[in-house]
Amino acid sequence: MQLETIIAGVMIASLVLYALLGGADYGGGVWDLFAFGKRAQRQRKLIAEAIGPVWEANHVWLILVVVILFTGFPPAFAVIATALHIPITLLLIGIVLRGTAFTFRTYDVQRDDVQRRWSLLFSIASIITPVLLGVTLGAIAGGKIRVAEGLVTSGFFDSWLAPFPFAVGFFALALFAFLAAVYLTMETPERELQEDFRRRALVAGAAVGVLALIVFLLAGTGAPTVRAGISRSWWALGLHAFTAVFAMGAFYTLWTRRYRLARVCAAAQVTMILLGWAFAQFPSLVEPDITIASAAAPRITLQLLLIALVAGAILLFPSYYYLFRIFKSETV
């Protein structure tokens, strides 16, 4: 396999991990907003305890994606940052508000009105940010970003201000909310809270299904190349089969309250969806004008980057495991 393909693979793997871990932290914010009933306070507390120790570490996966992109594929980073300046700027504002509102809520006065205000900001930012992340990824897949001689020629709006990227945005939001609800069933020994999040997981899972269909339909004009990749290639059938198996598995295990298995299925389902997108778009990095090969940095940079990524991973994963063992030991 080509070196640049391996680097691109690591980048996608980081994105998958960001979705599975960081994404679920956003999903927690969604359920903070939709906390209701007589257990609303306990739901919020559970969410805060679940994401408190880990959200900052989970967030770094996104930084890693960006760093791999600008080190390994500098022209692609330049093009994405130019064409998608507006949604990325809004995404950043969302990231800032989500993280700070969550921290400020933890350390501000524990009076109800103060806490409610921070909660509202935290949860709204947790909803907007995944949508914008999805819009950005949808625009990269959509094929409306046009480049000539390294310069963006398609303007600053057309590539993302369209139905398809926004459908991807809401799809991402549904996925993150689904993941969070499934994970939260494992975060508490209390039956009632488990039931609360089980119901939320089932609703979010249904929303994921509906939005997946909408994204697929809109992709006909919104992202024709990627859709062609998804619906026609030889591997597509197998991939769809896997995604479907995991999706049904997630529903079945949630229905029968086998939460540990549900978590595995949900995570696998999200992974398959992202991989499906990545394979369908391959070897394009920014549809249609920039490929992995055309944007790749010189070989020496890629070699060193790969060494750094491997060495970093060797240091990182034991620490990461330690973090999760400490705070999620009841649930791992």
Binding site: P53, H59, T71, G72, P74, G99, T100, F156
Partner: protein, 450 residues
């Protein structure tokens, strides 16, 4: 406001905001670690309380630092796609390493902040040490990338395109060591002085409070030792600038004419149209000595360089003066503190070395000096490199995004950061106000003794 100026302003504002949290993120874990280590060694509960209270403040500051750092990593591309497209493959390396250092920092900070009851004391202290170490490494990697913009190396230019790229050589650029040394020391000195100032203020109101005394001693030791070392690294950095960026050195000093045996200016206002720096106190030969280690060395003046390759002189010179003045004041205060400590120890009254109200007042006044020095120091580095984004290779105007209307994100982020600054300060004040009273500390100890 032109789009280029708006982009530069947004970048400057984002960096100026983030550097405060970044510096605290480097130094605070080190202070917490010392406090916790003293608790493990002495079993004095006051150090445990201290580590926990400092940790609360750090948690707030770290979160703001993490998100504002994320903004910067994207802004590199949002505002300077020309630069990133060109330089990403050359200097992406230190950013990748920084990614992992930041990962380690975030992981162990999570363990540190939320793990007091979940991990054994030694493992907890180890987590603190990992945060302190990876925090320092994060800063070092980012500054290495900045050093490359000042002293670009590790590639050859052929037809305006970089070839024969060597990312390792780029990391080992000649400015890397002096810049990282200077910034790392600055982080400890500035944070140490702010923390010392806060606890000195509390001691003035509550003089026998052991909690604040213990805190002040640790903060002052870290801030003071680094403040005394800092002029040495500054000297190293000035010599490096003299060698690689003579026009920047001339701007530091408002030196328009090329001169041998050049004088060092204290104060003064550069007049760029007339090409003179007025009202300065001049110390003969000192600039030649500081820049080249030789009183008769020739210092190149700004007039040697074409007008379109000179940085704005006045802002660089004045910022440089402020930075140096703050640094010298901090060094003097640190030496005063060190002498007080040594004298009292000799007189067998070591525990009274912080009992001078005059000394405490000076510490309160000196609290912001380190951060003023950091901010002005970065103005010196960044504005002093203009009009280049990569010194001698790429102009800032060539790197900027074609995106119009950049004043909108500039104003948006400015307002957002002002809001964050207000809330952060408000929450930290609450934390300080909630620190233990002297009488509480004594009572608790009496209870324990009983």
């Amino acid at each position: 406001m032109s789009d280029l100026l708006a982009a530069r302003s947004q970048m400057a504002m984002s960096l100026a905001f983030h550097i405060i949290f970044a510096a605290i993120g480097i130094a605070m874990p080190f202070l917490m670690m010392i406090a916790e280590w003293k608790w493990l060694r002495t079993k004095d509960e006051i150090y445990l309380t201290l580590a926990k209270r400092w940790a609360k403040g750090t948690a707030i500051l770290f979160a703001v630092g993490a998100v504002s750092g994320t903004v910067l990593s994207f802004e590199l591309g949002l505002l300077w796609p020309g630069f990133m497209g060109y330089a990403g493959s050359i200097i992406g390396m230190p950013f990748s390493l920084e990614g992992f250092a930041f990962f380690t920092e975030a992981i162990f900070l999570g363990i540190y902040l939320y793990g007091w009851k979940r991990v054994p004391p030694r493992a907890h202290l180890f987590a603190g040490a990992m945060v302190a170490l990876s925090g320092a490494l994060s800063g070092i990697f980012v500054v290495i990338a900045n050093a490359w913009m000042n002293a670009p190396t590790g590639f050859r230019l052929v037809d305006g395109k970089p070839v024969d790229i060597d990312p390792i050589a780029a990391m080992m650029n000649s400015a890397a060591l002096p810049q990282t040394l200077h910034m790392t020391l600055a982080a400890y000195a500035a944070t140490g002085f702010v923390v010392a100032g806060i606890h000195a203020f509390m001691l003035l109101r509550d003089p026998d409070n052991r909690f604040h005394k213990a805190a002040l001693a640790i903060a002052l030791a870290v801030g003071g030792i680094t403040a005394i070392l800092q002029p040495l690294s500054g000297d190293l950095l000035a010599k490096s600038v003299a060698k690689t960026q003579p026009v920047k050195l001339a701007a530091f000093e408002g030196q328009f004419e090329t001169e041998s045996g050049a004088a060092f200016r204290i104060g003064g206002i550069p007049d760029e149209t007339a090409g003179v720096t007025r009202y300065a106190i001049e110390v003969p030969y000192l600039l030649s000595i500081l820049a080249y280690g030789d009183p008769n060395a020739t210092v190149k003046g700004l007039n040697e360089f074409p007008a379109d390759e000179r940085p704005p002189v006045a802002i660089v010179h004045i910022s440089f003066q402020i930075m140096v003045a703050c640094g010298v004041a901090m060094m003097v205060i640190a030496l005063w503190g060190a002498l007080r400590y040594l004298w009292r120890r000799r007189a067998q009254r070591k525990e009274t070395w912080l009992d001078s109200r005059r000394f405490l007042r000076v510490l309160v006044a000196a609290a912001p000096l380190g951060f003023i020095a950091i901010e002005t120091g970065w103005v010196v580095t960044e504005v002093g490199r203009q009009p280049w984004i990569i010194y001698g290779v790429m102009r800032t105007s060539e790197a900027v995004t074609p995106m119009p209307g950049l004043i909108v994100p500039f104003i948006t982020f400015t307002l957002l950061y002002i809001l964050l600054a207000f809330v952060t300060v408000w929450l930290l004040l609450r934390q300080v106000a909630a620190s233990p009273q002297g009488s509480e500390v004594d009572q608790k100890e009496a209870q324990l003794a009983a």
